[in-house]
């Protein structure tokens, strides 16, 4: 009977560990599962195996996962790749927001790690605690329940018309709010520009930064551009990390006061 209960506990711990969202909880759960499994080995008349499983599975394996994670010393940024703001250049990350984030990480003594994701996934990642900061041409939308920093750079949301047909946008972007329901949505801006060029959609709602990029690279030839909304690029912070938001806002205010922000904007935006 005790054996059956212990087996059930072992399985429950394994399922608990593997259904978590946070890696830290997963690692701790797998450690506890190893310890319960050692008890199961005792019931199976295998004391040698039980001792080894307890020492290795609970001690060494948990330690090595925790050392590899080191989540406390790290700031995880879930980002959309955006030219000028945050993008991968060869093997390095570069851009205005990266400059700000890496300086901010330096100030907090935390390393900054970027995780590239589609725009639509950022709110879920922040809410689940898988990322601390969301970045990359981020605009607030209703119902996302994210903490937002001070504006970094003012911009505009515009509608670009290239031909007849429906208007598209990037899934999860602010532009989606201005489309009628059931419109075509794309995973990222590159896919949207591609669709625009091939004529799958006749127009797009996007921010001025991306539109300028499309026009300059000759990818898209707009026939007509109309303003939709004044907006600003911001950084999003996970709802549980209010102290990070306060520190970030203070840091941005300081950059603005000393004029460094203006310098950075000139350097990266031309």
């Amino acid at each position: 009977m005790g054996m059956v209960l212990l087996a059930a506990l072992t399985l429950a711990l394994a399922v608990f560990a593997l259904t978590q969202r946070r890696l830290l909880w997963g690692v701790i759960g797998v450690g506890a599962h190893s310890l319960a499994l050692a008890g199961v080995y005792l019931f199976l008349a295998a004391p040698d195996v039980a001792l080894t499983q307890a020492a290795v599975g609970f001690g060494l394996v948990t330690f090595i996962y925790l050392l590899a994670l080191r989540r406390t010393g790290k700031l995880t940024v879930a980002a959309v790749e955006t030219p000028h703001l945050l993008h991968q250049e060869n093997e390095r990350v570069a851009g205005l927001e990266w400059e700000i984030l890496s300086r901010f990480g330096n100030q907090l003594h935390r390393d900054v790690e970027v995780m590239w994701v589609p725009r639509a996934e950022i709110p879920a990642l922040l809410r689940a605690g898988d990322a601390d900061i969301g970045a990359g041409a981020l605009f607030p939308r209703e119902g996302e329940a994210l903490l937002l920093s001070r504006p970094i750079l003012p911009t505009r949301i515009v509608t670009v018309r290239c031909g007849p047909g429906p208007v598209g946008a990037v899934a999860g972007d602010r532009g989606q709010d201005f489309l009628p329901p059931g419109s075509t949505l794309y995973e990222d801006h590159a896919a949207l520009a591609h669709a625009l060029r091939r004529g799958e959609v006749g127009g797009a709602v996007a921010d001025l930064l991306h539109v300028r990029q499309w026009v300059l690279s000759g990818e898209v030839r707009p026939r007509e551009t109309t303003d939709v909304e004044e907006a600003a690029f911001r950084l999003a912070v996970a709802p549980t990390e209010e102290d990070v938001l306060r520190a970030l806002d203070a840091f941005l205010a300081e950059l603005e006061e000393t004029g460094e922000l203006a310098q950075l904007v000139r350097r990266y935006m031309g």
Binding site: D48, A55, G59, F63, I64, A68, R70, G73, E113
Partner: protein, 212 residues
Amino acid sequence: MKALAAVALVGLMVLLALGVSGVFPRPAVPSGEDIAAEWGAKNVVAAIILGVRLWDTLFEILVYAMTMVGVKLGLRLLRWERPLPPVAETPLLRRSADLLLGPIVVFALYVAVSGHLGPGGGFPAGAILGTALLLLALAKGVERLSAEIHEPTLEWAEYGAIAAVLAVAGALLLLGRRGSAYLIAANLLIALEVGIGAWVVLHRFASSRGEV
């Protein structure tokens, strides 16, 4: 994709269930008492690991040592941009490490030495030893400890432990000696090898900012 994965999983589970159903016959094995008496042990598992299946164990140790070398080389290839800020020292952790270290090491030695009489043996003893050293590293700070321990010595100790295990095995095979003294020596050497290997890996992970 998910449907395919589900089908594969069900197939695997059916295969495992078939394994226990008794369809496949079990090979005949000499009785545990005979093996234990032959090798001068009370723990049959120890007699099998260090006696009957010695080659298996030796090559497992070799795999372990090679993996450790792989980890060391792999982490050495990584370039880190910025050194980690120093970790704040906590008196509580330090005191408890001072208190616990001795008993843990003694327990590890006990587990290794009594491995042929009761539950235990070289592998769990080595794991306990590695955990104890890691506790020490956490309490004292990895940088300071590695400065005290002098890492090349440590690496030589690890390779030395492998060489010693091979030497004992070779002597056993050449002389045909079987007895509890051999089992104790082999268990101690395996504990040393596994413990030092585990500590080298954990130390590498901790000091080279192994963040993921």
